[in-house]
């Protein structure tokens, strides 16, 4: 079947995400991506200058589509804690379902240079925007401006460790700890522990 122009480009981007997740950014070659996408070298270079150019486009797509979907769970009318728990759960489930995507998204992006890192920072900012609404829970405490970066740092650090160890499947077991880490700067240890227990019991 003849695929359309734009879907061929999409196939290459999806292949890039998978190959980098499996082999690592450094070890990935254009040839690997072409093979995975079942396309030709000519087609690849019609759309992209080189591996790096293709990776940046692939990562941008990952941020827009995958992270966009996940972060949508943080919208709605429910309480902040409920919404943030839903967003974190969606993230963890997505990563557990697709370890290669997860590894590309969290680990390998750091190996792909400054522009890629900026895209990663932008992706984290999609979450921290929602986290920042949690500041209202502690009106007089004057939380540091950058508290959301620390919350996100604790969460992504633990996820990074599991992915690096090849244990994406165990991420859902880590959800209570991740939830604690995300909430605790905003609500303190008692409330964060209570939310963690609620989740473990569910």
């Amino acid at each position: 079947m003849q695929s359309s122009e734009s879907s061929r480009r999409q196939d290459i981007l999806a292949a890039m995400i998978r190959v980098v997740g499996a082999k690592g950014y450094r070890e990935t070659s254009v040839a690997d991506v072409i093979e995975e996408a079942e396309t030709s070298r000519t087609t690849f270079y019609k759309y992209f200058d080189d591996k790096h150019d293709c990776f940046l486009a692939a990562y941008q797509l990952l941020v827009d589509q995958v992270f966009g979907e996940i972060v949508a769970n943080c919208d709605g009318e429910a309480t902040w804690t409920t919404r943030m728990t839903a967003g974190l759960t969606a993230l963890v489930d997505r990563f557990a379902d697709d370890p290669q995507l997860a590894r590309t998204a969290v680990v390998e992006v750091a190996a792909a240079g400054a522009e890629a890192r900026q895209l990663h920072t932008d992706a984290i900012a999609r979450f921290t925007r929602y986290l920042d609404a949690g500041r209202e829970l502690v009106p007089d405490k004057q939380l540091p401006e950058n508290i959301s970066l620390m919350s996100a740092g604790a969460v992504s650090g633990l996820i990074f460790d599991e992915l690096l160890a090849g244990r994406a499947d165990r991420l859902p077991d880590r959800l209570p700890d991740l939830l604690f880490a995300m909430l605790v700067p905003y609500v303190g240890p008692q409330a964060a522990t209570a939310e963690m227990r609620k989740l473990s019991a569910a």
Binding site: R117, G153, A154, G157, D177, A181, V184, G188, P189, Q190
Partner: protein, 221 residues
Amino acid sequence: MPQSSGERWRPPRGRHRLPREVVERSQRERLLEATMRVVAEKGYGPATVTDLTREAGISRTTFYALFVDKEACFLAAYDETVERLMRQVTSAYEAQERWPERARAGLEALLAELAADPAQARLLLVDVAAAGPAAQRRYRAAVQRLTPLFDEGRDFAPGGRGLPANASRLAAGAVVGLIADELVADRADNLPSLLSDLLFATLIAYLGPDAAAREVGERTR
């Protein structure tokens, strides 16, 4: 001992000769320091063994007697740098009595050390990722080295025993998350001013917002 002109100077012989281990150790140290400098400046990928030996002033033969390749050398340099950094952090921590003061002193030392050498700090916590899977594991291991700063919080805090077992690991992640963000933005000189934010964000997990604000405020506000 007089030297005849035109003849190259050689290390003193006989009983003046430096023991082999001393020579090797100083060559190894020079190489490891040079490696951090070169990789911080050029990036891991572009840096070659020749760059490293030239900067260290050693021969290729000496290089390959010490390490099998660039990666092995970089990993050793990385470990050594983390080790040195953690010695400063640990001794600052241990010089204090109460846990919140200890955590503050440890974080303060960490920030000061990183701010003193921005290029190296960036390599340690950001650009290390470009050096491959083994380096990525060393990076995460380095982050784990910060957990002892927070472990004691479980005993110090009322109800601290009810916290998740890896609370200190999460605190270490929070600290590095914020520091890395500054380094990526090339604001290493700003690191020391993050102390109260970092302290607050780590203490709050153990003590709650009120006590954390008190601990931070007592010294800075």
